[in-house]
Assembly symmetry: C2
Homo-oligomer: 203 residues x 2
DNA sequence: TCAACTCACATGCACTGCGTATGTCAAAAT
DNA sequence: ATTTTGACATACGCAGTGCATGTGAGTTGA
């Protein structure tokens, strides 16, 4: 047990670098984060970084991948806990809005990620969040609960709306008051996807 | 007329720098654009740039401001030409989707802009696009055509959905096929904001 | 009309930061 | 035990930003 395999140590170093990067990128932004500082913070040098991730961009990709996976897992749990699949979709969207309020998510995944790595759908991670939403939509459309829209397009629109809602909330003078407004508006929007005879009683 | 005032020349140089920046930022991205190259392309040096715009970020802000104003003006014209205010709102959203397909808009306003300048609502320009959408929503809500949602939140959600739709289209394997799907999904979504007894006939 | 001044812009420099080429040393392989 | 591998450190080159300083055309006042 005192024996440390090379592979073990390397994996731990990767994890430490990613962890440090999450903090640095969140606090100073991608461009403002220095690789020297970042690596030194965990007792390494840039050598380790370029060996493990290729370049600065590769490190960001790994960080985004990790956060994205965490978000998708959380959203999926929340959606699964809902009473109906339809409520699950709404809950999922609300969960994204709330998660996107965390500075780490907002700065890294919403702002710097797309700017540096380009379009999320082409990220190596394939964007777990979008996949999750898409599968939910697939099921709801198959059951006739939603109108037969293109599920991929719908997933993008919904996620885009949710994430932009978070940006609006974060920038608003009073986020705690803005959050419920955004969620209410989101529920109305989503209602637009529902198949014809939805009960029109207020949300 | 052959007399060139200093102020005239300076304004022209500002315009030339902004124009060159639009091209450079669109082609190479904000980070990849060199201020030396950019200024040399219009026969100036970095001195002119820092004198006029303060820093690289200031130049980007000026560029974003200009493009944003152009987009808002165009969207407003399109919305005004629609038969009804409701159709105007839809046309406005579709116009944003189409405009966001242009590389210049996508790269500069949607990707680099938010990442570098931070949240759009705090840009000096105050984001003319959002203001335009917001005013349209204000009118529609006042007329009872839309549900009484928070107009600011709704504007953000709609614009966010439209702009993300554009990112999806641009990344899709066949943009010409994706565009109508995105527009159809957008119309359905917007329907969710409509006051209760909307005619449920297909869009 | 001419001198003094202003200011838009150019020039040179200092600093920071990325990426790469090369070195090193412990762990695995034979 | 020797060789080899590979994870990481070190040193360097290069590019880019921003500032401090220079300069000359255009403007102003007498």
């Amino acid at each position: 047990m005192a024996v440390r395999r090379r592979a073990e140590k390397m994996e731990e170093n990767r994890a430490r670098l990613i962890s440090a990067a999450r903090k640095a990128f969140a606090e100073k932004g991608y461009a403002g984060a220095s690789m020297d500082e970042l690596t030194a913070a965990v007792g390494l040098t840039r050598g380790a970084l370029y060996h493990n991730f290729g370049d600065k961009e590769g490190l960001l990709a790994a960080v985004v991948d990790q956060i994205d996976a965490e978000m998708a897992a959380r959203a999926q749990r929340i959606a699964a806990a809902a009473a109906t699949e339809w409520e699950g979709l709404l809950a999922e969207g609300e969960a994204y809005i709330e998660m996107a309020l965390e500075p780490e998510v907002q700065r890294i995944v919403l702002l710097d990620g797309p700017a540096v790595l380009g379009d999320p759908s082409q990220w190596p991670s394939q964007n777990a969040c979008l996949q999750t939403t898409r599968r939910t939509l697939d099921r709801l459309i198959a059951q006739g609960i939603l109108k037969p829209v293109d599920p991929e397009a719908a997933a993008w629109l919904l996620n885009g709306a949710a994430l932009n809602a978070a940006l609006w909330i974060a920038a608003s003078p009073s986020p705690p008051q803005a959050l419920p407004k955004a969620i209410e508006a989101f529920r109305h929007l989503a209602e637009g996807f529902r198949a014809e005879a939805a009960p029109a009683r207020p949300v």
